[in-house]
């Protein structure tokens, strides 16, 4: 099956700093890829390059068959980016944010979908609220509702559970799982390793801007030789891989 996301040799530099170096990977429809790595590893830069927010220094990103550099509008129509810190227009209400998104993506049945999403995100009754009147968790839910409105083929999530309460977390996990089952490809960056372990089919571990491991948890375990590797938790694997990745060559 064709991949929804194909990244080839992605690099991003900020002046002298190489934040992302030669990343290449693919994500298939229905697949959830976990992006993990220590602070400053380049996860957010990678996600922002894949969302078309930052221009890559080199390399290619294809979303649903569209080159993000050559056909950015078509590529962006197929994706949703949910940042760790939701950003809104403070003067638009919750409902108006959905209306705005609907026009941008041409979602004709947006009112029906919007109501269902608000219900799913427990935001019913908040339609006329301004973002400034919402709690941190509610803002996160609104960001997710806006992102899901146009049924994107690729969903990029940066710490999606920040600010959510335990019930919200459970609902969000179910919601993400359902989107994947419906055929969307998900790239999920998080420091919450149990969440990554629970939701993701494959992992991409980044350290120092480079991919240090890519594959399913079992693949990565198998790559680590010895008895220790076979039974290691994701947390232990993470520490071992990133510590090794951080070593100077």
């Amino acid at each position: 099956m064709d991949s929804v996301l194909r990244v080839e040799g992605l690099e991003k530099t900020y002046g002298e700093v190489k934040a992302v170096q030669g990343l290449s990977f693919e994500v298939a429809p229905g697949e959830v890829l976990g992006l993990v790595g220590p602070n400053g590893a380049g996860k957010t830069s990678t996600l922002r390059c894949m969302a078309g927010i930052l221009p890559p220094s080199s390399g290619r990103v294809h979303v649903a068959g569209h080159d993000l550099t050559q056909a950015p509008v078509d590529a962006k129509r197929a994706l949703a980016f949910l940042p760790d810190e939701p950003r809104f227009f403070e003067y638009l209400t919750v409902w108006e944010h959905l209306n705005f998104t609907a026009r941008l993506y041409g979602v004709e049945d947006w009112e029906e979908r919007g109501r269902a999403l608000l219900e799913e995100m427990e935001l019913s009754g908040k339609e006329k609220s301004l973002p400034g009147e919402l709690s941190r968790g509610m803002k996160q839910k609104l960001s997710i509702a806006c992102g899901f409105l146009h049924s994107p083929k690729l969903i990029l999530l940066d710490e999606p559970l920040t600010g959510l309460d335990p019930i919200g977390i459970r609902r969000m996990k179910a919601s993400l799982r359902r989107r994947a089952e419906e055929g969307a490809a998900l790239v999920l960056s998080s420091h919450l390793l149990p969440l990554v372990e629970e939701l993701c089919h494959r992992l991409l571990v980044i350290a120092g801007g480079k991919a240090v491991a890519l594959g399913s948890l079992e693949d990565i375990r198998a790559r680590l030789s010895g008895v220790e590797g076979e039974h290691a938790s994701l947390e232990e694997l993470f520490v071992r891989i990133t510590s090794a990745g951080a070593q100077p060559p």
């Binding site: 900020y14 002046g15 934040a19 830069s45 705005f100 609907a102 026009r103 041409g106 004709e108 400034g132």
Partner: protein, 576 residues
């Protein structure tokens, strides 16, 4: 380390770090150039006018009277505000950092209060410095004495408003009786003031023929010398006397009562102290929210955003960039700004005309309203692009959000410009319509047949010139983000930032004027040959041609700016 020493360390270290950072920035040419321009401006505007060699002669009597009345009025106004306006709660404001760092620290409430008072008094000292720079030289031959006097006056007023807020909080806590005591006291004082002023006015009625400034001054001086008004003005006079002193001897004579008054106010604040932590936390959070809101739009008014209806219904089908236009028009409606500026224009214009004693304002509206509306429409052409900012200047701090939208750079730039352009054009055309319909019209001897053709030409030209101005200002934030920062709510401070702003202002003005040259040439090339045939009606044709050239220039510019927007990478200085 004791709390006062810790605070002193904090302030000194913060100040040194700021200076160090600013000096480090000067290594970059753009900041160095900005600093040089800023320093030159500061010197030419303020210091060149100040003479520290000693007295060179006092201000005129009229100016002194005006200054004295203004300062006394401001002082009495501050006293009135302290007791009547605002909410009944402690007026001390702490930043969120101060709340988080100092409130849980092992520090008594009294120490926190002292800290805030010192901080407030430092703030009033800065205020006094600016007052000296702006007014001191005009009012007093001794800027240093004026500064010292202003420090004492502003400091005493600060202490008074702090103590008044404490007393109001205490009275409110007492319930109805507290309110009766407060408002009874305020009413009694206001009643006495009204009685004193009225009785003085009876003794010194307004002269029927106030034809000259001198007559007005003489009457005012006699009124101020009367016992009633003299008693009302006494507290204010006492407070501003050191600042207005014309000699060292006068200053020293005026100093002791103010020092005693300030000391008494300090003791009053300590005695009246009430718990202020809860209010401080609420205010710190509210200020933080306010800052966030301002970051999304310079004119945002927190807490007063009314959910007015969107300007039109946004359908899901159609050109996607219309969503940005819709959003920005909502921003204009909900965050005011433009309309408020427009109202200020009207009110100020009327007030100035009334102050100048132009009675025609009330008797011959056709001769006044029309020209006023016309002047406002033309003024809006210059001021509008700076006042109406519902465009990239407002949205660029949310670049991440804009860049993730499925729109080309050209679509984003076009839609962003459209909102501000439409808003300015609407005001301009309304004002022009008012000017044309209510103005003197064709009956005016010198205007005659030029009235309507000229108006129509302006209707084409003014919105196009404003659009060009808007384009230049939007282009500046995209092309030179380091020089022309978007509206983040937090303005960069320092001499170099001021210099950069000045250079950017001059740059945008020059570019706008250069952009007008082709349009002017086309207008001349079209208008002159047509004038023998069309007479005055060649004007709107030339205006239309010039407007077409300007719109064409902007359209070409939008293409280029769209590409620049797509390449814009604000993250260059901000690694993850």
């Amino acid at each position: 380390m004791s709390f006062p020493r810790a605070v002193a360390f904090l302030w000194v270290a913060s100040w040194l770090n700021r200076i160090r950072r600013q000096l480090a920035r000067l290594r970059k040419p753009r900041y160095l150039l900005g600093a040089l321009v800023g320093a030159a401006y500061f010197y030419s505007v303020f210091f060149r006018r100040m003479d520290f060699r000693g007295p060179v002669g006092g201000a005129s009597e009229g100016l002194r009277l005006f200054a004295e009345l203004s300062l006394i009025g401001s002082a009495l106004g501050a006293l009135f505000a302290a007791w009547v306006l605002g909410r009944d709660r402690p007026s001390l404001t702490f930043s969120e950092t101060e709340v988080v760092q100092l409130f849980p620290a092992p520090v008594s409430r009294r120490a926190l209060l002292q800290y805030k008072l010192v901080r407030g008094l430092l703030g009033t000292t800065v205020g006094a410095l600016f007052a000296t720079l702006f007014l001191g030289r005009a009012i007093s031959p001794h800027p240093v004495l004026f500064f010292a006097g202003a420090c004492l006056a502003l400091g005493t007023l600060y202490l008074h408003s702090t103590a008044a807020a404490f007393v109001r909080t205490r009275l409110t806590a007492r319930g109805t009786w507290g309110l009766v005591i407060r408002w009874g006291g305020v009413t009694a004082v206001l009643g006495l003031v009204a009685f004193a002023v009225l009785s003085s006015l009876q003794a010194h009625p307004v002269p029927e023929n106030l034809t000259s400034g001198r007559a007005l001054r003489v009457w005012l001086q006699s009124l101020m010398a009367s016992p009633g008004v003299g008693a009302v003005l006494w507290p204010g006079r006492l407070l501003v006397a050191p600042a207005l002193a014309q000699s060292v001897r006068e200053f020293l004579a005026a100093l002791p009562p103010v020092l005693v008054l300030m000391g008494a106010h300090y003791v009053w604040v300590l005695l009246a102290e009430v718990p202020f932590e809860e209010t401080a936390v609420v205010r710190a959070e509210s200020r933080s929210r306010e800052r966030l809101l301002r970051a999304s739009g310079r004119m945002a008014r927190v807490g007063s955003m009314t959910l007015s209806k969107p300007p039109f219904r946004l359908l899901a089908r159609g050109r996607p960039e219309v969503a940005i236009l819709w959003k920005n028009l909502i921003a204009r409606k909900r965050m005011g700004g433009g309309f408020a500026v427009f109202l200020v224009f009207i009110v100020l214009g009327g007030a100035i005309a009334a102050l100048m004693g132009d009675a025609r304002l009330f008797t011959d509206t056709r001769r006044v309203l029309g020209p006023v509306a016309l002047v406002l429409a033309v003024t809006l052409t210059v001021v509008g692009p700076s006042a109406f900012r519902m465009d990239l200047r407002m949205d660029l701090p949310k670049l991440d959000l804009l860049r993730a939208l499925p729109l080309t750079g050209r679509q984003v730039v076009r839609a962003q410009l459209a909102a501000s352009g439409l808003a300015v054009a609407t005001f301009q055309l309304t004002l022009l319509a008012v000017a044309l319909v209510l103005g003197p019209g064709v009956e005016a001897p010198r205007l005659g047949g030029w009235w309507w053709p000229g108006g129509l030409a302006l209707a084409f030209l003014l919105p196009a010139v404003s659009l060009a101005g808007l384009f230049v200002q939007n282009a500046a934030v995209v092309l030179f983000p380091a020089w022309v920062p978007a509206d983040t709510g937090e303005r960069a401070r320092g001499l170099e930032a001021m210099g950069q702003r000045l250079l950017a202002l001059v740059g945008t003005l020059v570019v706008t004027l250069v952009g007008l040259i082709p349009a002017s040439l086309v207008a001349l090339l079209v208008g002159i040959p047509l004038s023998p045939f069309l007479g005055p009606w060649s004007l709107p044709v030339a205006g239309l041609a010039a407007a077409g050239v300007l719109v064409g220039e902007v359209a070409l510019g939008v293409i280029g700016l769209g590409h620049a927007f797509e390449r814009l990478d604000l993250s260059e200085d901000r690694p993850e």
